[in-house]
Symmetry: C2
Subunit: 334 residues, 2 copies
DNA sequence: CTGTTAGCGCATTCAC
DNA sequence: GTGAATGCGCTAACAG
C-alpha cells in the first residue's frame, strides 16, 4: 500500500523523528519560528541540517497553494533582446525566493498557451514577454494567475512597454539635421506590437519634420532579410534607412557593402534595440532599448501583483538614440 | 478545517462529479486509458475539456515522484554562448513533456548549489552548463537526481564536452601556413575548464609546428579586457593572436584599430566560440563551438539518465575553424 | 508552546 | 471495468 518514491531526500518526518518532536513542530520551526521556543527551533534545525533536509516546495504548495515559482515565456531565447531581460527577471525572482520556469514559444501563439497551461498549476504568476497570443487568451490566463506583459499594451494588465517614440524621434531629427530628406523604414513582422509602435513613432516624427518615410517590408527580422531588401531600399531613392532591429540593419549594412555603397558617406543606417553594440562595421547607430530594465521592472510588478497589489500599472520605458558611426551627412546625387 | 486554495482551477474531483464517475476513473482516463472502457474515457475527457481541466503536475508528483520538470543552471544567461544551448535544451525537454527551470548562478559556485538545492525536489534531473562548483558537490547532487554536465570533465557523470582541439589545431595550422611563427594566446579565467582545454590544445598544436605560443592573461572574458591587453600583445612581438573567446577578440580588434594597426594586413586575430558571427569588422575568424548541439545532446543524455540508462557517457563535440577576414599573411617587420 | 488530525490533488493498491 | 480507501510531504486548524 505504501507508495514509495524513495528519492533519498529526507522528509519532515525524518527530522521530526530525530528531533523527537511532532511533524507540525518541524514545519513551524521553518515557516513560523516565532511560534515555538527558541530551544526547540534550534534542536529542530540542528536535526534538519544533520539530515540535509530541505523543505519540499511542491508538497508545501499542495496545502498552501504557494509554489514559490514563477514562469517567463519568450518568443525566442536566442534573440539577443531577451537574455538580458530573462537574466534580470531571474535575479529579481531569486532574491525574493522564487524559482523561475522558462518557456520558449518559438514565436508561436499556440505553443505559448500550451506552455502557460503546463506551468499554470506550479507557478504563482507569469511574465509574458512580447506575447504572440490573442489578447483574450492572455486575459483568461490572468484570471487564474497574475500576469505581467512586456511589450504588449493590454489594458487592465500590469505591463511594461518599451516605447520607441523618443529614440525614433531623435533618430529622425538626427538624420534630418544631417540633411536627409528621404528615408525608409525597413519593417519587421506586421503582427508585432513593437513593429506597430515603431511605425507609429516614425509617422509622428516624419510629420513633425514635414517629410515622408516609406516602409519597405523585410519578411523576417533577420540578417538575411536585411540583405535581401537592399535593392528595394536603393530603388526608393532614400539616403537613409531606419530598420526594425539591429539584425536587419546589419544585413542591410552588408548588402550596401556588396553594392559598394560606403556607409555613412553615401548612405546612413539606424538600427533598433541596440543588441549588436559596437560590433558591426561601421559601428551601428541604434535606438537603445534597455531590455534588462524591462525585466527588472516586470518582476517587481509581478511580485506586487502576486501580493494582491493593484493591477493596472503601465510602465513605459523611454528609449534614446545611441549615435555611432553609421550615420552621416546626406549624400546628394547629381 | 477545509484548506482552501481556490485558485479556480478545476480538480480531478470536479471532473469526476461532472462525468459521474469516481476520481480514480478520471485519473485512469488520463494516465492509463487502456484500462477502462472507451466510452468512459470519452465521457471523462469531454467533461474534462468542458471544465478546462488540466492535470496538476505538482500534485501528481507527490504520489509518483515524477514532476515532469528538469532544471538547467548556467553561469550567465546573458553570455551569448548559452542562449542557443538553453534554447536547445528547452526544445528537447518540451518535446518529451518536461518543463524547464532556469537558474543563473552569476558565475558563483555557492549560488549554483543553492539553486540546485532549491530545484532538487521539483525536478527529475539537472543540466549543469559550465558549472563552477566543486566536483564533489556535483557528484553529491547526482546521487539525488541525475545530472548531466556540459563543458566539465567529471568521470562517472554523463557529460558533453566541446573540445577545442580540432579547431585550435586548424587555427594554428592556418596561421602557420600564412607565415606566422610568433603568436600569443590571450587567455580567459584560469579556473575555467574551457580555458584549460584551450591552453592544452594550443600547446599541442604549437609543439607539432615547432613553435611557441605565449600566454597573455585577460582578466575577464570581455570586450574591455581585450582592449586593455593590446599593448602587451604588441610588445610580445607576435604577428597573430588567438583569444579565449570572441569578446576578447573583438576588444583586441578595436584596440588594434586605435593603434592604427590594420587587420589582417599587419596583425591576425582568431576568436573562439563564434558567437559574434560575421558582425565584427573585419569579420572575425573564429573557432566554432556549436553550443546549440551541446544543449541538444545534453537533454538527450539527461532523458536517458532519468530513464535509468547507463551514466558514464561522454560525448565530445568537435570544433572547426570558421575562416573569415581577420587572418592574413604574416607581416614582416623590418 | 506543542501534539493531533485532516486534507491539498492525485495515483495507486485492493475489492467488487 | 470501476469504485473505495490510503498515502505522497506538508501546513492549517484545533486541542491541550
Amino acid at each position: 500500500m505504501t507508495i514509495r518514491k524513495d528519492d533519498g531526500l529526507p522528509t519532515i518526518s525524518d527530522v521530526a523523528l530525530r528531533a523527537r518532536v511532532a511533524r507540525s513542530t518541524v514545519s513551524r520551526a521553518f515557516s513560523r519560528p516565532e511560534m515555538i521556543s527558541a530551544s526547540t527551533v534550534e534542536r529542530v534545525k540542528k536535526a534538519a541540517t544533520a539530515l540535509g533536509y530541505v523543505p519540499n516546495y511542491a508538497a508545501r504548495a499542495l496545502s498552501t497553494g504557494l509554489h514559490g515559482n514563477i514562469a517567463i515565456i519568450v518568443p525566442d531565447i536566442a534573440n539577443p533582446f531577451f537574455p538580458p531581460l530573462i537574466r534580470a527577471v531571474q535575479a529579481g525572482a531569486d532574491s525574493e525566493g522564487y524559482s523561475v520556469f522558462l518557456g520558449d514559444s518559438d514565436e508561436d501563439a499556440g505553443r505559448e498557451l500550451k506552455l502557460a497551461d503546463r506551468f499554470a498549476n506550479q507557478v504563482e504568476g507569469f511574465i509574458l514577454a512580447s506575447p504572440r497570443s490573442a489578447q483574450q487568451n492572455i486575459m483568461d490566463l490572468n484570471k487564474r494567475r497574475p500576469v505581467v506583459v512586456i511589450n504588449r499594451d493590454i489594458a487592465d494588465l500590469p505591463r511594461v512597454l518599451i516605447d520607441p517614440a523618443l529614440g525614433v524621434k531623435d533618430a529622425v531629427a538626427h538624420l534630418v539635421e544631417l540633411g536627409h530628406r528621404k528615408m525608409v523604414y525597413v519593417s519587421g513582422p506586421a503582427v508585432s506590437w513593437s513593429d506597430q509602435q515603431r511605425r507609429l513613432a516614425l509617422r509622428h516624427a516624419a510629420a513633425s519634420h514635414d517629410i515622408r518615410i516609406d516602409t519597405i517590408s523585410a519578411e523576417r527580422p533577420t540578417f538575411n532579410a536585411g540583405l535581401k531588401v537592399v535593392s528595394a531600399v536603393l530603388r526608393s531613392g532614400a539616403t537613409a534607412a531606419i530598420t526594425f532591429d539591429d539584425f536587419v540593419a546589419h544585413g542591410l549594412l552588408s548588402g550596401l557593402a556588396e553594392h559598394h555603397i560606403p556607409v555613412p558617406k553615401k548612405f546612413s543606417v539606424i538600427g533598433m534595440d541596440d543588441v549588436l553594440g559596437a560590433s558591426t562595421f561601421p559601428a551601428l547607430t541604434s535606438v537603445s532599448g534597455r531590455c534588462d530594465e524591462a525585466g527588472r521592472i516586470a518582476i517587481q510588478l509581478l511580485i506586487g501583483a502576486m501580493q494582491g497589489k493593484s493591477s493596472d500599472i503601465c510602465t513605459v520605458l523611454r528609449t534614446h538614440l545611441a549615435i555611432r558611426a553609421t550615420t552621416g551627412q546626406a549624400f546628394r546625387r547629381q
